[in-house]
Symmetry: C2
């Protein structure tokens, strides 16, 4: 499979393999003419270094692993794309895994990545507590940074957005739009961002005197279907609030759709907000007001942290928590002024 080896190049250039290696990867000085000869020979033979052999020797693969809860969720897709982009600059490759929203497969993926000697791992854990052991164990062996969500009981690098601040912006906005009450359509509080967004909503709703209530707090999962169903539950249960604050865009898309089919006008009778700013929020009817996640920034920070951590051993530094402040994107699913 790997046709031409360093020995072939060495033979052709009339030098030793050591010299070839040094000439090509520039480990140490090589005289100019020898270097030229080597480069030429390599060129002619079409030599390319075998990354497997190199990896075995130097135990570095120039590959980072990434594990996301679900590749179907466009938010994570955007994140993946951004990470890929950021890594490209460093000449690193991405090994992508999908945890299928299941801590068990997630753990399996993480282990696989570790034994594959990736240089670092970027993970958005799917569960706030069930994911802890695997993440912990992995972080002890490799540089690891958590993205967007983080698990309890570990101290690793993390980068994401300030969910509380984001929710403040959302609540203020619907309040200004005239809403006096709001329901929260979220996901079960099994991970950090679900918790924080929920907490942020409650806190700021209270502060800003927005009526809420337990019967107006519906927790399911991050999916369009849940958004639709939640609105059904709400409608069946009596009084409707004046706003629906959703924990992510999928839920919000479902909610908007359900409102339409039930003749609840958005935003006049009901304001709806999302979270993440995935591409399709633009296309909803009406286009969705949502919170923009700066995936580019998040990814950049993550690979920076990973690179930093690669210098020191794992867990040699204090963990960094980078929380970016996201911006509200106002569209037509809420009222302005």
């Amino acid at each position: 499979m790997q046709r031409v080896t360093i020995a072939d190049v060495a033979r052709r250039a009339g030098v030793s393999t050591a010299t070839v290696s040094r000439a090509l990867s520039g480990g140490r000085k090589v005289s100019a003419d020898v270097a030229d000869r080597v480069r030429e020979a390599a060129q002619e033979l079409g030599y390319a270094v075998n990354p497997i052999a190199r990896a075995l020797r130097v135990s570095r693969t120039d590959t980072v692993g990434m594990v996301v809860p679900s590749i179907r969720n466009p938010f994570f897709t955007a994140l993946v794309e951004s990470v890929e982009h950021a890594l490209g600059a460093d000449g690193k490759e991405l090994l992508l895994c999908d945890a299928q929203s299941d801590p068990v497969t997630e753990a399996r993926r993480l282990d696989a990545l570790v034994t594959r000697n990736v240089d670092g791992i970027i993970v958005s854990p799917c569960h706030g507590t069930d994911s802890t052991p695997a993440v912990q164990r992995t972080a002890e062996r490799l540089p690891l940074v958590q993205l967007d969500r983080f698990v309890g009981g570990t101290s690793t690098d993390w980068v994401g957005v300030d969910d509380i601040a984001a929710m403040r912006a959302v609540v203020e906005h619907v309040r200004e739009g005239g809403a006096r009450s709001a329901a929260y359509l979220g996901a079960r509080l099994t991970n950090s961002s679900s918790e924080l967004r929920h907490a942020g909503f409650l806190r700021h709703a209270e502060e800003l005197d927005l009526e809420t209530g337990p019967q107006w707090t519906l927790l399911g999962d991050y999916s369009v279907e849940w958004g639709e169903r939640a609105v059904g539950l709400l409608a069946d249960s009596g009084r409707l609030p004046e706003a629906l604050v959703c924990a992510d865009d999928l839920i919000a898309l479902g909610a908007v759709r359900a409102c339409r089919t039930r003749g609840i006008t958005v935003p006049d009778r009901m304001q709806v907000t999302g979270f993440d700013n995935i591409e399709f929020t633009r296309l909803a009817e009406p286009p969705l007001t949502t919170v923009d996640q700066p995936t580019r920034r998040i990814a950049d920070e993550a690979v920076r942290l990973l690179a930093d951590a690669a210098g020191d051993g794992p867990a040699a530094r204090d963990a960094a928590h980078v929380a970016l402040v996201p911006k509200l994107v106002v569209r037509d699913s809420t009222r302005t002024g």
Copy 2:
């Protein structure tokens, strides 16, 4: 990083490394008690085989590479997920690359995958001719199967849908819905599926006496923006057709949206169809009639072909072209009866 090696296990179990290897990977018979001792020792030490060393030795990585034009396109995301799923069954890993719709990066990605000794490559080439050299070169060195699209001038395995048949179903459907004329909103004919869908549309439109015309054939790229813009062009240019047949769902979503904003009612004044059946077609207003791509089947076939090809050398077999017949999914953006 890789703490415990096969030698440690051997020492602990009081046998040679060869025996350990045989006991664990079952290459040859090992007496039961020795096997037990080895397994136990491995267990206690927490031994896991180093895939890098193994790969170097056997030149097989249990990894397949996949290159998609754009990970942002939900259709490819779905494909990736399906491939990942299909590979999981074989205990293989997926190395995912995004070509960013650029043949140059695509070529770079392919080369990177080759030197990384992946066992096979699944690629959906981004360009029908510019992608040829890289795909060709790669296919000569590794099992390779093209997905969805294929490039000209090579003979590799391919699996996708029968675009012509799909278009026949689409055209028949809008015809039955009463449309006497239709525009085609597609992508520039730089790849096979763009070409085939376009050709299929024209052929069957003619057969079924659906009026078309050059001014009603608008070619851009696979994006929502293009769909919106194309409708604008159409509207500005005079007479409107009675149907818009779109080359993919993104274009169709844009088209539907543009119709709405211009007061062109869908499906009464204008029928619109998509292609791919991405998740968000359900959410459009109205929900989109589209062609369902059986991504699961496609992925299964692809990994099967890859596995077959791994047995023989590359290019030892005749290439297989597997075209699945997709189903039309009728929703509310077209008229029925």
